[in-house]
Symmetry: C2
Subunit: 229 residues, 2 copies
Amino acid sequence: MAQSRPSAAPVAVHPVAARPGGRTAAVRKAVLTATEDALIEHGFAGIDLPSIARSAGVGKTTIYRRWGTAQALVADLLDDMATGSVSATRTGDLDADLSANAELLVRTLTHPRQGPLFAALIAAATHDRDTKTALAKFYRRRVEEWSLPILDAIDRGDVPANTDATAVVRHLSSPLYYQFLTTTTPLDDNAAELAVRTTLAALHAHCFTRSGAAPTSPAAATTSPRPRR
Amino acid sequence: MAQSRPSAAPVAVHPVAARPGGRTAAVRKAVLTATEDALIEHGFAGIDLPSIARSAGVGKTTIYRRWGTAQALVADLLDDMATGSVSATRTGDLDADLSANAELLVRTLTHPRQGPLFAALIAAATHDRDTKTALAKFYRRRVEEWSLPILDAIDRGDVPANTDATAVVRHLSSPLYYQFLTTTTPLDDNAAELAVRTTLAALHAHCFTRSGAAPTSPAAATTSPRPRR
């Protein structure tokens, strides 16, 4: 799917096709769009239920009955975003697949709407426990989806069988989020490429092998970059 | 300094010794402490100048004249935090020095006061341009300080001369901040150790060598984990 539309918006927050579900689905879509708008414009503090109802063109009662709190609205938005995310690229070449993931992430974080949305969600999670739980769940699902190409590489025998695929995906994402959140340096393809190179280097140095099944041969121990002292 | 008090609070936001400067310095300290309290409690939206004046026990006129805006208060707080940060550990062993940095960062982000403070500052930077600039400056200074042990390693010949020391420090910090901000998994020494191992692996694979002076020998090219296609 990702390969057939490489220039599409990286995270399909609003799928083009109408969802099944009729009026209920249409209300949800309108409410989640209004929630997104409020987050982008004012952050979590901007999620006022009566304003969301007005923007979405739905009754206040509906919002209060179906969601009830700003936290519930954000959790549902994250649930919707997880469902609409672009599938992992799986070309059969680990380097290419990791590059596709890193480049997708750069496109998402530099996207004029999705960048501020992710920043607002991360910010909201820093001072709201329910939002933090919902955000962690969103990333857990994204990371699992993007673990598939690493599981493919395990199947091909390109990386050790005891590699923690989710740790690889998280490592790949980390420097891009860190740059996004703590610097004013814009993300670009160089940042994506460095993330891929460092991740592959760590992978080949067996940094992500699960400790319960660590390599035990003397050769493997010798090539370990940081023997225990 | 860090070695002589390993269990001290990791970032000395408020040095124990009184600073020179008399009343002006005392006012600044009281105002910055009140700003910190407001950030930890309510985030950036909680920085109301009259409330800060009241909490700090100083006149509103003083706050408006000397700082004027919430952004200026946060920028001054970050400036103060940068000055008070713990110096880099420099034992002469790169692994030990990187471990000290990663463990300090874990202690900072899990500290009951400093963790929420950093989270609030990062959150504030996502929706305020001046705060983002001030935060980036704070991290630039911290990263430069913590580059010193890597420059030492370059001097010793332990890592290539064209290594970008600041890129190494940023890489080391990234997974810890990513875990802190996007998961509910508490940071611990295992996270610090993984950050060190991945950073050393990437360092030994020449991921952080400046492109203008990349290794050109065939041997170096062969060991590169991701040759250009």
